[in-house]
Symmetry: C2
Subunit: 387 residues, 2 copies
């Protein structure tokens, strides 16, 4: 096992009817800015519920944080924070809103001349941030219990990650019933996003991290069991939704990755596909992962065999056959969730690969993977395998 630090101070408030707890969770004298995405939080009544829970606290709302949240929109929110003298932010939404709020919380107090420097340094230059909480309505990214985010700058086509120890939510309210109004595509995206987050902290090389491996496998098994049911259920099942929410949160709160190697290549290649072609984040992961596992089967053999056996029950055949079967099960699972796994499904071909490789090089993503040996040439092979 590798040495590690683990520290996650976010308070989780989980279950039915927990939004009312905001009245205890938000400081009594806070001047709150609520931040939301589109109009769904208003339509579903969640925003009204949040406002009621805030009681007599001063509050305003910033609306319009888009999927793959942009620097440009976030800076508008920063302006509203400053103009309004807000001292507490409350994200109501999914990973995009929460990621944006983390950036806004840091940018509002950033002392440099240009808050984009935060992204250029990956957040290492953040020294303070406004306190913030979240009300999660879309389980997927795990942003509700970690300190990182991803921000897109439209004018230069860049989608970059940042993190900081100042960017943990103070609390996150996770009410599984808030997922009842999600369309099937967003549920499917959430399952695949959480699945790939888990794989990226698990499917590398063995370091005898037995608890971490079993926790990761437990999340994957849970997603495999509940994923298809989420799509076919005629009425939402509370426990299936609760398991989805908790699995997605646990998939990226630092725990399963503590003390083990990690391989975020799939995310880094996927980010470029979103930035260039606007493909949903989770869908880019489903495009890249099966091809990446195929290309990197030599480096990942031991864990691929373990994954095949423990998650998919594959116990017979040669090593090569078992790895093929594990990758095929992964691809089939994504497709059963209604998520395509081929670039051609999006009308993309060899030209797109050239563009992605160019952007990976421009963003310094030239030494990816747990071995830091996944060069642009190998990224090209991965993408060719996804055609």
């Amino acid at each position: 096992m590798q040495n590690f630090d683990f520290h996650n101070p976010t308070r989780i408030v989980f279950g039915k009817n927990r939004i009312a707890d905001l009245n205890k969770l938000v400081p009594a004298d806070a001047k709150v800015l609520i931040l939301v995405g589109g109009s769904s939080a208003e339509k579903t009544g969640t925003l009204a519920e949040v406002r009621q829970a805030l009681g007599g606290r001063t509050h305003a709302t910033f609306s319009g944080i888009e999927p793959n949240p942009s620097y440009e929109t976030a800076m508008q929110a920063v302006q509203q924070v400053r103009d309004g003298g807000h001292d507490f932010l409350l994200a109501v939404g999914g990973g995009s809103v929460i990621d944006a709020v983390k950036f806004i919380a840091a940018a509002a107090l950033f002392e440099g001349d240009d808050a984009w420097h935060i992204m250029e340094k990956g957040g290492r230059n953040i020294t303070q941030a406004l306190p913030f909480g979240t009300v999660l309505t879309l389980p997927a990214t795990g942003s509700e219990m970690n300190n990182g985010g991803v921000i897109t700058r439209r004018d230069i086509g860049a989608k970059l990650p940042f993190s900081s120890r100042y960017c943990y939510p103070l609390f996150s309210v996770l009410d599984p019933t808030k997922t009842y109004t999600l369309p099937p595509q967003q549920l499917a995206n959430g399952v695949v996003d959480a699945f790939v987050h888990t794989v990226e902290q698990y499917l590398t090389y063995p370091v005898d991290g037995r608890v971490q491996d079993r926790f990761a496998e437990g999340i994957l098994q849970t997603l495999v069991e509940i994923g298809p049911r989420l799509l076919t259920a005629t009425e939402p099942d509370y426990d299936d939704r609760a398991n989805l929410v908790w699995a997605a949160t646990m998939a990226l709160n630092g725990l399963i990755g503590a003390g083990v190697p990690q391989d975020w290549s799939t995310h880094m290649i996927g980010h470029e596909l979103t930035a260039l072609y606007g493909i949903d984040h989770a869908r880019t992961l489903a495009l890249v992962l099966p091809a990446l596992l195929h290309e990197r089967r030599a480096q990942k053999q031991a864990k691929l065999l373990q994954y095949g056996e423990r998650v998919w029950g594959i116990t017979s055949g040669s090593n090569e056959e078992r790895m093929d079967a594990a990758i095929a099960h992964t691809r089939s699972f994504f497709e059963a969730m209604g998520i395509p796994t081929r670039l051609s499904d999006y009308g993309l071909g060899a030209d797109a690969i050239d563009s992605v490789i160019h952007q990976l090089q421009a963003h310094g993503m030239t030494q990816l993977s747990e071995h830091r040996d996944l060069t642009p040439a190998i990224s090209r092979k991965v993408l060719e395998g996804a055609l």
Copy 2:
């Protein structure tokens, strides 16, 4: 799944050679009181390593916290804290030292006239505590990453639990090499303690907490795999020790019990056996648990069958046969760890049962278990099953 809150702010600093990190972890201007058990921290050199890491900070040492730490000893330490003006406590040891330090941290700032009131209220009257960190040398109790402890008052033969949100360690240094000097009996106790902690948050009734169940099963599988090897290894294996430490920490940091029923009957009955007869904490758990599972097989049937299948691979036979086999495997595992599972192994008989039942009643332990229906009469049957 049940509603839950989860919040665990303790920072974990895990791995080889991490004691040097104390220099960053302890506030620079702290006036530190180091607290240890017997002489082992001195003999093994750990105490010298700790003192060196503290650099120029003012520090003193309190030595003599016993296993099943006593109120009487803890209050001596409180006096030293006050006399010396210490504002930071550093526990160096196992669960007993850490539990005591939590109580000392709260008692030193307790505003009531008698700090024993803390125990009478189970910690609910704690409103502040001195900050403290830990250096773990004995993996077992999980106290290094939770907010609870158990204190024994000798003059009245009481062993009682307490907890408070003010009693989380600020940090815990977990260096698996610090377990290399432990005698086999303490390693075995640690494995059994962590195993039973996990079972008590898992083996109740199903609420479809899939992630929690799989995490619990992952800890149990890990302990089953590494436990016997810890006893037979001629040289300590780093990864086996690291897995033991992390499994024991994860077994009782609130995570696997979040959102699921819990049954702490085994602990409550075991505490009385320790208080009356001085049997090691973990050994009392090994005495009680198999008999408790047998007595409560009707209430626990669904989870007992799941436990048998997923932890022990028991898939054939009638339900009764499978439950019998799961309980038998549990008993055999404890005995393979060198830990007896019968009262008669300690020379105890029917008289001891009368005494334990008397004490359970005296301490209000009359409605135990996940159903709050485990009366003293049922505790008696459990103990009779352990004769």
